[in-house]
């Protein structure tokens, strides 16, 4: 019989017909956890952490096949906090990168392509993570952001487009201006408005 642990505690369960799947197990556990705004966060099978375990091909597997299954839970608040940390880290990284790139451009160094890519990737991650946080928050009824960040996305995308254009026509002054006076200012304003408390 398979040993099933929930956050390290052995669970007592019944699987008489040996037809319960991992999906059934997770569903049953999360049903219990929902009032506490918790959910299953990690799945370990026979000592191995499973990545992408919410995929159908994992969830449809029968429990009886395994020696041991461990479920690790977390609260929505913890996840939200982690998500927020990630967003803040990205924003800080991008602000540092922007300052660096601006200094390079202003002092005549054109070799900033790599840093510009990092800024673009970072901005994409910010938008993606904030979207996930909003979705999660809506599902669990949590107000993660002080103000809805969605209206800030469009200007970010717009700046990225302007930067791409300035870069492609070699307008390094405009690039520096867009980064320093528009994007950076926008990110700082967004930070002030959407985060409840900040430790920047």
């Amino acid at each position: 019989m398979t040993d099933i642990y929930l956050d390290g505690t052995l669970l007592d369960y019944e699987d008489v017909d040996r037809d319960s799947t991992i999906g059934d197990l997770v569903q049953a556990v999360e049903k219990e956890l929902k009032p506490m705004r918790s959910f299953v966060f990690e799945l370990w099978v026979d000592g191995e952490k499973i990545e992408g375990w919410r995929d159908r091909e994992i969830m449809d597997n029968s429990i009886y096949k395994y020696r041991e299954i461990r479920l690790v839970t977390t609260t929505v608040d913890t996840i939200a906090m982690e998500g927020l940390n990630i967003v803040q880290e990205y924003i800080n990284l991008i602000k540092r990168k922007i300052s660096g790139v601006v200094k390079e451009l202003r002092s005549g160094n054109i070799d900033v392509e790599k840093d510009i890519s990092t800024i673009f990737e970072g901005l994409n991650e910010i938008v993606k993570t904030m979207n996930s946080l909003i979705e999660g928050g809506t599902r669990y009824g949590i107000k993660i952001f002080k103000e809805n960040p969605a209206p800030y996305y469009a200007p970010i995308l717009e700046y990225m487009e302007k930067l791409r254009n300035a870069f492609s026509c070699g307008d390094t002054v405009l690039m520096a201006d867009l980064l320093e006076y528009e994007l950076l200012a926008h990110l700082e304003s967004m930070e002030r408005r959407i985060f409840h408390s900040r430790e920047f």
Partner: protein, 639 residues
């Protein structure tokens, strides 16, 4: 007066041509925009050149970068709205030469921003033309100066080729200046000494301007000793007597190998060049064109004849050429082929054709076969931009390796060709000379028929065969013209020469006495500092020295060639002035030492010049014909 007029007035004081060009209405000025900070910016070819928010903030970064590097001159590519220029002047960097590649930008800026105050600074220059810019860099900066080039990023992105040219040309002229300094130091006293030794020959041989205008519209071929000579030198065999041929001394032996004996061989070397001659019958068929500062032995060579020419860069010649019956002072760009060009114009020749004027490395060689450099091995290290030449002088048994910085010139084939500092110097001179010549004497055709090497802007480029087919058709009385000139030398003003030497001697002796007095004061000051430290007593010495110096410098105005003799010491002085010593007393002691050193040099050089001038006076006395006799016999033994 509007802003543009105010700016143009300031520009006109130093660069009238630019000021006039900017008045033209067909120049479409760039549109100047206001920034959010209330300053100015503009867009050119789709790019902003200054921040649209706060241009001064970006300028602060650039200024800091420039100021962090020690430099005597800042050479800016691009003026933009002149923020950087203003910031640098404000920070005390006042020796700035600006090259603005776009008249449209310049006009837009000058119409909107008043920069007349900075443009009026003594050492701030503005150019929109690369050649005048480079010439100003050449003449305003010195070989010892540190030059800092700066090109703001928008200019680099917008004008990449022009920036490349800007940097390459600055590097080249800076090397020319450094080389000039070395030549000054190593040659000036020898030149003076040779001049005095050559006085008897100036009487014996006519000045070159006895030939003035006698070769009107006769073609002149000037032969350099470049590696490409092998491609076309043989063609000269058929044109002897149809054109005048002047060969550089280095090209003479290679030409003889091709069966060509030139009419003239030109030289101005301060050292003797025995290895450049054949010692055969060819030597007796040529005439030498010798600079007044050539080694005396060159005047003693067994040749068909000799002509003397006086150089415009020798102070003594400027003073005395007229007394020798010459009113032609040759222009020279460091090589005798440059002088030959100037001479060709004076002779009336047309067209003037160059061959063997490569000014660049050939395949594994620097000169034509048959030259004095043998067993050459040339390694071009393009990564380090260096060239290493291992070679043996024909009169030597050992080989030597010399290394130079590799420089690049545009080739006749359009591609860059490797060159070195001296050739680049000559090349620059040719292009400058041609620019003026084409303006002033457009009817004179100058053709570079060198079949390889560097392209020379302002000259036509073709093959020697084409030149011969088109211009060298009939026989010319070359020999007769020369003989006629030889027998018609202008009279010599012996009294003028004697008077000139007497005045010189008087002034030199006076300078020598003043230098000795200054030395006494300086030594007394040194003793005072050592005994009492920095005291008020020193002020009296300083006041006396100042008075003596004023008199000394006043005297040198009349014998300016003394500075030529002193070039080595002035170089040392310049080096000293660049040192920084913080401690006041130490600095003062060092000042005194330098003063002692400098005035000792002046006193000693005067001591060396006085006997030379004495000898010169004596020579003139001996040379002066006695009443009733045309010339007195003089033993030409040299000195």
């Amino acid at each position: 007066m509007n802003i543009l007029e105010k700016n143009l007035k300031a520009i006109a004081k130093k660069n009238k041509e630019l000021s006039e060009r900017l008045k033209r209405e067909d120049i479409k000025a760039v549109e100047i925009e206001r920034t959010k900070s209330g300053d100015f910016t503009f867009r050119y070819r789709g790019r902003y050149f200054h921040s649209i928010y706060d241009p001064w903030k970006e300028i602060a970064i650039q200024t800091e970068e420039i100021l962090s590097k020690d430099s005597d001159w800042v050479l800016l590519f691009g003026m933009g709205c002149a923020y950087l220029l203003r910031a640098l002047v404000r920070e005390g960097k006042k020796k700035i030469i600006v090259y603005e590649p776009s008249l449209e930008i310049l006009k837009g800026v000058l119409e909107n921003i008043d920069i007349s105050d900075i443009l009026s600074e003594d050492h701030v220059y503005l150019f929109c033309d690369m050649n005048t810019f480079i010439n100003t860099v050449r003449t305003s900066t010195e070989g010892l100066d540190d030059l800092l080039t700066y090109q703001p990023l928008p200019y680099r992105v917008t004008f990449p080729e022009e920036v490349k040219e800007f940097l390459n040309k600055i590097q080249n002229v800076h090397i020319i200046n450094m080389t000039g300094l070395v030549t000054e130091i190593s040659s000036r006293f020898s030149w003076l000494s040779n001049y005095f030794s050559n006085l008897p020959f100036f009487q014996k041989y006519p000045p070159v301007d006895t030939l003035r205008g006698r070769f009107r519209d006769i073609p002149l071929i000037i032969v350099g000793a470049g590696p490409s000579l092998k491609k076309n030198a043989h063609l000269l065999r058929d044109i002897k007597g149809k054109a005048l041929i002047i060969a550089a001394a280095t090209a003479y032996r290679p030409l003889v190998r091709y069966g060509v004996v030139p009419d003239f061989v030109i030289s101005a070397e301060k050292t003797d060049l025995p290895a450049y001659f054949t010692y055969g019958e060819e030597d007796r068929r040529i005439r030498l064109l010798l600079g007044e500062i050539s080694h005396p032995n060159m005047f003693k060579r067994d040749t068909k004849g000799k002509f003397v020419y006086f150089n415009g860069f020798v102070e003594l010649s400027i003073k005395q050429a007229k007394f020798w019956g010459s009113d032609y002072l040759a222009l020279a760009g460091g090589s005798v082929t440059t002088t030959a060009l100037d001479m060709g114009i004076m002779l009336g020749c047309n067209p003037i054709v160059f061959i063997g004027q490569d000014l660049a490395f050939g395949e594994g060689t620097t000169h034509a076969d048959g030259c004095v450099y043998v067993d050459q091995n040339i390694v071009l290290d393009t990564k380090k931009n260096e060239v290493h030449i291992r070679e043996r002088h024909i009169a030597d048994t050992k080989s030597y390796t010399v290394s130079f910085k590799l420089l690049w010139l545009k080739g006749v084939n359009g591609r860059p060709v490797p060159s070195k500092y001296d050739w680049v110097t000559f090349h620059k001179w040719f292009e400058d000379y041609m620019r003026e010549l084409n303006k002033e004497k457009a009817s004179v055709k100058v053709i570079n028929a060198t079949e390889g090497g560097a392209y020379i802007e302002g000259m036509e480029h073709t093959t020697l065969k084409e030149v011969i087919d088109n211009f060298i058709v009939s026989s010319k009385p070359v020999e007769e013209i020369i003989q006629e000139a030889e027998s018609s030398r202008p009279p010599i003003d012996y009294d003028g020469l004697s008077g000139s030497f007497n005045d010189m001697e008087k002034d030199i002796k006076r300078i020598q006495r003043l230098a000795t007095d200054i030395l006494k004061e300086a030594r007394s000051m040194k003793r005072t500092v050592e005994r009492k430290g920095m005291s008020l007593e020193l002020q009296k010495n300083l006041a006396r020295i100042k008075r003596l110096e004023e008199r000394l410098f006043d005297k040198t105005r009349y014998v300016s060639f003394i500075w030529e003799a002193l070039s080595e010491y002035t170089f040392e002085l310049k080096k000293y002035l660049r040192d920084t010593i913080d401690d006041e007393e130490e600095r003062f002691k060092k000042d005194i030492d330098t003063m002692v050193h400098s005035y000792t040099a002046i006193r000693d050089v005067c001591g060396k010049l006085v006997p030379l001038i004495d000898e010169g006076k004596d020579t003139i006395r001996r040379l002066k014909p006695v009443e009733g006799r045309e010339y007195r016999k003089v033993a030409l033994t040299g000195h």
